[in-house]
């Protein structure tokens, strides 16, 4: 596993996601910065958490800089970042 990986861009409608492994039992340490955080912050966090769960990730640091991405983009960028971290890309 790599020490850090990322995916996405800072372009409009995209999201830039950085991930780092954490020790077993640490849980998910998630930070979301978004231009629409007030309106959609909870929804973005929920989508990220669900994506991590579907990828069987229990412990990870995740920082997401959102530029108004829709769900399928958030899911794609999180999955890509995780696969890169696990060197599955």
């Amino acid at each position: 596993m790599k020490e850090k990986a990322w995916a996405g861009t800072m372009e409009s409608s995209d999201i830039y996601v950085e991930v780092e492994p954490l020790a077993t039992g640490s849980g998910i340490d998630l930070t979301v910065n978004s231009v629409v955080y007030a309106q959609f912050g909870d929804a973005i966090e929920k989508t990220i958490m669900e994506t991590l769960e579907s990828l069987a990730i229990d412990d990870m640091k995740v920082v997401a800089n959102d530029r108004g991405a829709v769900d399928c983009t958030i899911k794609a960028r999180v999955e890509t970042a995780v696969r890169r971290l696990k060197e599955e890309a």
Binding site: T9, E11, I15
Partner: protein
């Protein structure tokens, strides 16, 4: 009905989000030249999610990386499960290139419980060898619904300059149309790459249509309306086609064997052309 096909870079979230609203009959979501080698993984996952979740209403074509690259198998593994309408294999130079891809897709379709042959192919022919083998490519596999000319790579292979006049691709265009029609498939023309030159675009599209191309691709959303217009039958053409069939019906009722319309005998090619015009007009009315 496909008159226009618009390319979208597969790693652009914003463009994939808007792809369905830009008026092209087909959308080509690109995993090849528009995506940097370091972003191939990212683009294929983004394109897969977009097809799966965005509810595209237009025909979806995914352009994959060539068979001599390390990417094409992963492209197909990721994209086939979301059932795109068509795959566009690139740098196709012979029938075997199509067979390799078709067989690989068949394996995936079987694994996924899909009917084998669901996903169609539109091979991109962009090498001198590909143009010479165009008929073999067009008739190589039942999945092939159309062939597509890539003028930029072709001229690089021909070691000549790509010009607006397009004399350097005249032979390739003619050969592609001949091959496609002989094989009973459609044929699509290379994009016009000067985004601002609409007059040049219209001329180029009209010329492609006059050679027999089914439609034309584009790299700019601004070109779509012009291409759709050029490749749509005009009101006059539609009226003439209706008159052809009305005249035939009238002649039948009167027991006449040979009939003419506006001073010209109606023979089999005129009837065939009229049927194509009405079919195109009908398809335009019904959308896809």
């Amino acid at each position: 009905m496909r008159r226009s096909m618009l390319f979208f870079p597969g790693n652009s979230a914003n463009m994939l989000l808007n792809a369905d609203f830009l008026g092209s009959d087909s959308m080509i979501l690109d995993l090849e030249d528009a995506v940097a080698p370091t972003e191939k993984d990212s683009a294929r996952i983004l394109v897969r999610n977009a097809i799966r979740d965005l509810g595209y209403t237009r025909e979806v074509i995914v352009r994959i990386n060539p068979v001599d690259s390390p990417y094409w198998e992963k492209d197909l593994q990721t994209i086939i499960p979301v059932k795109p309408d068509m795959i566009m294999p690139t740098k196709v130079s012979c029938a075997d290139d199509v067979k390799i891809i078709s067989d690989y897709i068949a394996g995936l379709e079987e694994q996924l419980g899909m009917e084998v042959g669901t996903v169609k192919l539109i091979p991109l022919i962009e090498t001198a060898l590909g143009v010479e083998n165009a008929y073999q490519i067009a008739s190589s596999d039942p999945r092939v619904e159309a062939i597509f000319l890539g003028g930029e790579d072709l001229t690089a292979d021909l070691r000549c300059k790509r010009t607006k006049e397009g004399n350097e691709i005249f032979y390739a265009r003619s050969r592609m149309v001949m091959a496609a029609r002989a094989a009973g498939v459609d044929v699509y023309d290379t994009p016009w790459t000067d985004v601002e030159d609409y007059e040049g675009l219209i001329k180029d599209a009209e010329f492609a249509k006059s050679l027999g191309f089914t439609g034309k691709s584009s790299i700019s959303p601004r070109h779509v309306t012009f291409i759709n217009e050029v490749f749509s039958p005009t009101e006059e053409e539609i009226q003439y086609a209706r008159d052809v069939f009305a005249t035939i019906e009238k002649a039948k009722a009167e027991g006449k064997g040979v009939v003419s319309l506006r001073g010209k005998m109606i023979d089999a090619p005129i009837v065939a052309r009229a049927a194509q015009v009405l079919e195109a007009a009908e398809a335009m009315k019904g959308g896809r």
